[in-house]
């Protein structure tokens, strides 16, 4: 059943008579991460209202006991106040005799080496632990029966973008993620205030440096530009006044703390109002602005429906958010039930982001767990989205920006790695220190001195001036940073829990045979139905049938049943390499 043009921008709910399997699939693709034909059938047999209820009111859905994150135990309180750089660490050690829980050696060579080692240990340990959190989260996305909870958490993570590399504390990232899980489909006012007081966010936007008399505008600016209103709806003066209201907002480890002495209690003028505002007041004033509801409703709509949003429709959606005092579920329900959501420009037009792609691939294959091979973080990184490390506070650009010629190739390659994992060449990236540390390690094991082991081989013409300046500066006396990198890495890898490297367990033959196909043409059609959300070009479809015929040596499925698995995997690889597969 095709949708008519008049469904565009129509917020009226879709009727049961217009509900079908294709639309159920569309809902599951957008509100979740797609699924198996059985998952789609389950939604298709419900009425639209019931299907959307099942998606949104997910507490009612049984989810089993998804495992909590298992900490490796690399943190201890001496790491709580971690210096901002290696030079800052060694300066502290020089002046006070110790830093991050390690004393400077009273004598001997390289007296500050242990301090430097510890510095690099923490950098590596928290980075590794952060990768483990990302994989744990992706595992939840794959196995959950409450996909909207994870999809909204992913949305908020991209919206309130916080980069783990700068935060340098995996525990804070976990706390923030927990916030998105708990409050992601609740009330936006509550969520906004909680995020503004979230330790990871406070660190990321330099809140701790925002103090009375010397306000730091980073936080105030991004709150307005990116998190609530968008550029053009406030002045530079508003930003400075907001910064004053947020002064003293800081964290004590994993808790929000208001440092009263550093808080500017004076009168402020913000968005036309005057008062002795604090940070919460500022946020509430922002939420009072009509533009805020419109901005947020628009961003949520674009994430789930389509990029092209008319100003009129945006106003109407903003009104839904506003009239419900920023409760998110009424807005989500409106969007997911609307005829506009199922109109032609909305269906099969969204380019799946990397995390979305990988997770839906797993779900379409019927996997219950995220595979350990290929490495999830490496895969996502190659496709341009590193979970917990967005490129900037603006998050990821989404849509067409996911696609470049290099990226399209990478997506096809990823699919192959999932379907036919290369266990022969697989190297655990968490255990791979990179060529530089590897070389230093080898030299040390061969008995070279630290100086010799860490010296940069000169690839230039041999003249000292030709060496890049940075390599000259790298040699020091009281400690050796390259050696510290090696030592720190070694200890981190020793202590961080290993990731289980099990490739995906599934049988395409079993999936296909349950539909009892007779010919390769039928098999190809089954696969296309399972993995694609838009029709495949006829020429491509025929090429796939040809391919399968060649691989099986017959078009009769009965004859080929006992050796079909690998050819089927190659077939699905081809399907996932199509431009069409990138769409949901």
């Amino acid at each position: 059943m095709t949708s008519k043009d008049d469904w565009v921008n129509d917020l009226d709910p879709i009727q049961p008579a217009d509900w079908d399997r294709a639309r159920a699939k569309h809902l599951l693709n957008r509100a979740g991460f797609g699924g198996t034909p059985e998952d789609i059938d389950r939604l298709a047999t419900l009425t639209p209202v019931e299907a959307v209820r099942r998606i949104i009111d997910y507490e009612k859905v049984e989810n089993g006991d998804l495992p909590a994150f298992e900490h490796s135990g690399v943190y201890d309180p001496t790491l709580k106040v971690f210096p901002p750089s290696r030079p800052a660490t060694t300066r502290k050690a020089e002046t006070t005799g110790e830093a991050i829980g390690v004393r400077v050696k009273p004598g001997g060579s390289r007296r500050m080496q242990p301090v430097v080692d510890r510095f690099f240990f923490w950098l590596r340990a928290t980075a590794l632990e952060t990768r483990r959190i990302a994989a744990w989260w992706a595992d939840r996305m794959v196995s959950t029966d409450r996909p909207l909870q994870e999809k909204m958490a992913l949305f908020w993570h991209g919206h309130f973008a916080t980069g783990a590399d700068k935060v340098r504390d995996y525990r804070k990232m976990l706390v923030q993620l927990e916030l998105f899980h708990q409050k992601g489909t609740g009330n936006f006012r509550e969520l906004l205030i909680a995020v503004a007081q979230d330790p990871a966010m406070l660190v990321f936007l330099d809140a701790g440096q925002n103090v009375k008399g010397a306000p730091n505008e980073n936080f105030g600016r991004e709150v307005m530009e990116l998190f609530t209103m968008g550029v053009g709806n406030y002045s530079e003066h508003d930003i400075r006044e907001a910064a004053r209201a947020f002064t003293g907002w800081t964290n004590d480890d994993l808790r929000f703390k208001l440092d009263e002495a550093k808080h500017d209690t004076g009168e402020k003028e913000f968005l036309g109002r005057r008062g002795n505002f604090d940070g919460v007041d500022i946020l509430n004033i922002i939420l009072d602005q009509k533009v805020t509801a419109n901005f947020m409703a628009g961003k949520i709509y674009r994430y789930f429906a389509r990029d092209d949003l008319s100003p009129v429709l945006q106003e109407r959606l903003g009104a839904v958010l506003r009239e419900n005092d920023y409760e998110l579920r009424p807005l989500l329900r409106t969007i997911f039930l609307s005829r506009d959501f199922y109109s032609e420009p909305s269906v099969g037009t969204r380019i799946k982001g990397p995390v979305d792609l990988i997770v839906s691939l797993c779900r379409e294959l019927g996997l219950k767990r995220l595979p350990g091979v290929p490495d999830f973080n490496s895969s996502c990184g190659e496709l341009g989205q590193v979970l917990l490390n967005p490129p900037t506070v603006a998050g990821w650009a989404q849509g067409r920006s996911w696609i470049t010629p290099g990226m399209l190739l990478a997506r096809g390659n990823l699919a192959r790695q999932m379907l036919l994992p290369d266990m022969i060449n697989f190297v655990d990236p968490n255990l791979d220190p990179g060529p530089q540390i590897r070389e230093v390690n080898n030299r040390i094991l061969r008995g070279m001195s630290v100086t010799a082991a860490t010296s940069e081989e000169n690839p230039g013409t041999g003249m000292a001036e030709d060496r890049a300046m940075a390599n000259v500066l790298a040699d020091k006396e009281d400690f050796n940073t390259r050696y510290g990198s090696l030592n720190g890495w070694r200890e981190a890898v020793r202590r961080v829990k290993p990731t289980l490297r099990v490739p995906a367990q599934f049988s395409l033959s079993a999936l296909v045979l349950s539909a009892q196909p007779k010919t390769t043409t039928e098999v190809v059609n089954i696969m296309l139905g399972r993995f694609l959300s838009v029709p495949l070009a006829e020429k491509s479809r025929l090429a796939l049938v040809d391919f399968l015929n060649n691989e099986l040596g017959t078009s009769d499925v009965q004859q080929a049943m006992t050796y079909m698995e690998d050819p089927l995997r190659l077939l699905v690889h081809l399907i996932m390499s199509t431009p069409e597969y990138q769409l949901a």
Binding site: A88, Q209, T404, L408, G412, N458, A470, P579
Partner: protein
Amino acid sequence: MTSHYGCDVARREVLRLGLYAGGLAAALGVPMSLSGIARAAEAAASGRILVVVELSGANDGLNTVVPYGDDAYYRARPRLGIRADKLRKIDDTFGFQSGMAGFERLYKDGWLAIVHGVGYDQPSFSHFSSMAYWHTGAPNSGAAYGWLGRLADGMDPAGTADYLVNIDSHQSLAVRARSHVPLVFDDPDKFLRTAAFEEESALRAVVTSREVGNPTQRFLLEVANSAENAEPRLRQACAEYRTPVDYGLVHFGLDKVAALIAAGFPTRIYYVAFRNNAFDTHVQQSDVHARLLTYTSDHIAAFLHDMDRIGRADDVCVMAFSEFGRRVAENANLGTDHGTASTLFIAGKRVRGGHYGKMPSLVDLDDGNMRYTTDFRRVYATLIREWMNHSDVGAVLGRDFEPLGVFG
């Protein structure tokens, strides 16, 4: 102007012919208007290549080319100000940060133009907005295509493949064009399709299908075709390139640009970036900024010396910019906040090295920020007209802008 490296004139000519042939061959088979042919020939004949380096995050120009001769600098920056004896002085007024050996050498060879006070009217202090203005060449406005995309469309209406190359994980707005699909890649080793021999023909069929679908589908098909065509040549170019030049500790793409130039790619415009707001030094600026500048100086200087080594220095020019500068006064966290005008660099053998534009006053400020003295579009006009020999500046920038006279 002299340099420490020799130039092989004969070799240079051979390489240039190779480039010309490649460009023309690509253009054959596509009907062009007479003026289009003339334009393409003019551009191909000059063979010039523009490399744009984006220093993302707003580089603090004041601590890059330090005005040590101006007392106001030290008054505004009691802790962040860099002492004169720690600088690489280039004259009585200015000095580079100590880690910038590469840039100092370029300057002394006469290969580096320093443009002071570059900015625009009603400056934005938002990274994303201001960078978008620089990308589109349309400040305080919206535009669908990038200035380099429009330049490519103007110089090469036929839409030659791989005319624009963007080395990054995402395509920059700066290279977005109406008639060109920029070649965007990050790691050449990953720019490779892993596939079994048996899959090849089916793979080619499914990725190069031309059936019409929804607009997003059409976009995906265009990109897929570009990937299919570029893949083998790109990998080969990067795999085969060998250089003794040390590109520094951090490579942000110029080594790959060198490989493609050496391999004779028809590319005329390269865009690379030191990414992810690396230069956004709000807090504890000293050490981080020193490192960033060292990496930047090393990498760009190495690239130009490498171009000289292979005899292409006459054809290549690098421009390095940031979306804005930083405030004159240091902040309370030993860092600096978003500012306005900043220093911009144009480097290459054909550059007439020296100072351009006017260093803004450090006391007559606009709410703590420098007043810009050179509109950044004049820099663009300089590159379009003087370097790329393309006279229709108005079509690229909306109107004409007076060039700076950087090229001799």
